[in-house]
């Protein structure tokens, strides 16, 4: 068996085929407290990061939007308001627990009509070619087993001229901030996870998976290799999070 058959799950090396199941277990475990933990861990700043993603998406009335790894539907809810009744928003997630939480939340808030919910793997998106004006994936790409395959799949479903936005944790550009961020991730986060969600391991995985995720420049290169053009990224909160944008050539 070659080395290609293993991949990372946080700092651990696991069989490629096993990663999806392990990631699924993490999200089954945190789904019910996902929103609360996000607010606590980021002090609410994740809402600002997502708002900037929406601004940069350039989504307009009547557009078709695919939100991959949409989780509890923060982006999908806002997109549904923007695209209006003539538009279409698909909230996709590989994890059924997350999808159920997201679907219930959106329906309970009266959002329906232009919203669809699909359980889908980002690597093999079950949509025809050239279907969406915009594809977003927020805090999901680092959990995907084969990121290149997923990026190519996203390119395929985008319409020519469509935009992909990848919002993901990244590498802080300031060494001092980087040190403080490490301390926070490995000392505070697991404790917070244990106290609030009764699950320290999942939040330990979160910190590890962020460190294993490609940095800003590497991800930009990966997007270009997948076939995206006009690739760029914006660092937010000192590079703790980066928003990558790429366009499908006309």
């Amino acid at each position: 068996m070659s080395d290609k058959d293993t991949t990372h799950f946080g700092y651990k090396e696991v069989d490629t085929g096993a990663k999806a199941g392990l990631v699924a277990d993490v999200f089954h475990s945190v789904a019910s407290r996902y929103d609360l933990m996000n607010d606590l861990m980021s002090a609410g700043i994740h809402r600002v990061w997502k708002r900037f993603t929406i601004e940069l998406s350039g989504v307009r009335s009547g557009n078709a939007v695919l939100d991959i790894a949409g989780g509890t539907g923060d982006l999908a809810a806002r997109f549904a308001d923007i695209v209006g009744p003539t538009g279409r928003v698909v909230l996709a997630d590989i994890n059924d627990s997350m999808l159920k939480v997201g679907r219930d939340k959106l329906l309970d808030n009266g959002r329906l009509g232009n919203l669809e919910f699909v359980q889908a793997d980002a690597q093999y998106l079950p949509f025809p070619d050239d279907s969406f004006d915009c594809v977003t994936i927020a805090f999901g790409l680092r959990n995907v087993t084969d990121k290149d395959l997923a990026l190519r799949s996203m390119l395929r479903v985008l319409k020519p001229g469509g935009r992909l936005l990848v919002l993901e944790f990244s590498k802080p550009d300031n060494p001092l901030l980087s040190k403080a961020y490490d301390t926070y991730s490995f000392r505070v986060l697991p404790v917070m996870g244990r106290v609030v969600a009764n699950d320290a391991d999942s939040y330990q995985y979160l910190a590890e998976s962020i460190r294993m995720h490609p940095d800003q420049e590497t991800l930009k290169d990966m997007m270009e290799d997948a076939g995206f053009t006009r690739c760029e990224y914006h660092n937010m909160t000192g590079g703790v999070v980066a928003l990558h944008k790429g366009t499908k050539a006309q």
Binding site: V48, F52, L56, G58, R60, T237, L243
Partner: protein, 213 residues
């Protein structure tokens, strides 16, 4: 090199501002309806001092504030913060746009409409007070506040008028506006005459030089 502001920072500021504006609009239903007539218009405001860029998009009775927008803009305005403040508070926005130092691109009519809606924002403070205090106490307090606000507005405008009269007529500390405008017009005309004289003198000097050669 220009300092790059962290997008998270200005996005957070715009989010807070948008929340306040939309809360105020919720309490001003007439203005909200008027705002809907501008749906799909996008206004770009480029402030040069301090350097800030904001895009305003009305729709669904709300106003959306964005730091980035890559689509077609209806009206684009460039100027300093004080120029924008002048426009926002102007009684006659058309005159403020023509005479002011703002640089305008695109359709000015929707911008004037937006300015009118903002400057005539009629907020019904009674609704949130009644929600918290109940019908009777809320209405009483709202009536008292309305009276106090109306008295304050009348008093401040009366005081302003009297102060202006005292400065111009009694103490003669400053000339009246019309006199001052007249003076500026004379100065402008004098400046134009001087420019013409200067160019005439240059032409004569040039001709003298040609004759000598």
């Amino acid at each position: 090199m220009a300092t790059v502001i962290d997008p998270a920072l200005h996005t957070a500021v715009f989010a807070a501002l948008e929340r306040v504006i939309n809360r105020a609009l919720e309490l001003a239903p007439a203005n909200r309806q008027e705002l809907d007539s501008l749906a799909d218009c996008v206004f770009a405001l480029h402030c040069t001092a301090p350097e800030v860029e904001v895009y305003l998009q009305p729709g669904n009775g709300r106003l959306r504030l964005m730091g980035y927008y890559d689509g077609v803009v209806t009206t684009s305005v460039r100027g300093t913060a004080s120029d924008f403040a002048e426009l926002a508070t102007a009684a006659d926005p058309t005159a403020a746009l023509i005479n002011g130092r703002l640089e305008l691109n695109g359709d000015s009519a929707p911008l004037i409409e937006l300015q009118k809606i903002i400057s005539t924002l009629d907020i019904d403070w009674e609704a949130p007070l009644v929600e918290v205090l109940g019908d009777v106490a809320g209405h009483q307090l709202a009536q008292f506040l309305r009276g106090a606000y109306s008295w304050g507005r009348q008093a401040s405008s009366g005081l302003g008028r009297q102060l202006e009269e005292f400065i111009h007529e009694e103490a003669r500390l400053c000339p009246p506006r019309l006199e001052l405008e007249d003076f500026y017009r004379d100065v402008q005309q004098l400046g134009l005459r001087v420019d013409r004289l200067q160019s005439r003198a240059q032409r004569l000097r040039k001709r003298l030089r040609q004759l000598r050669e």
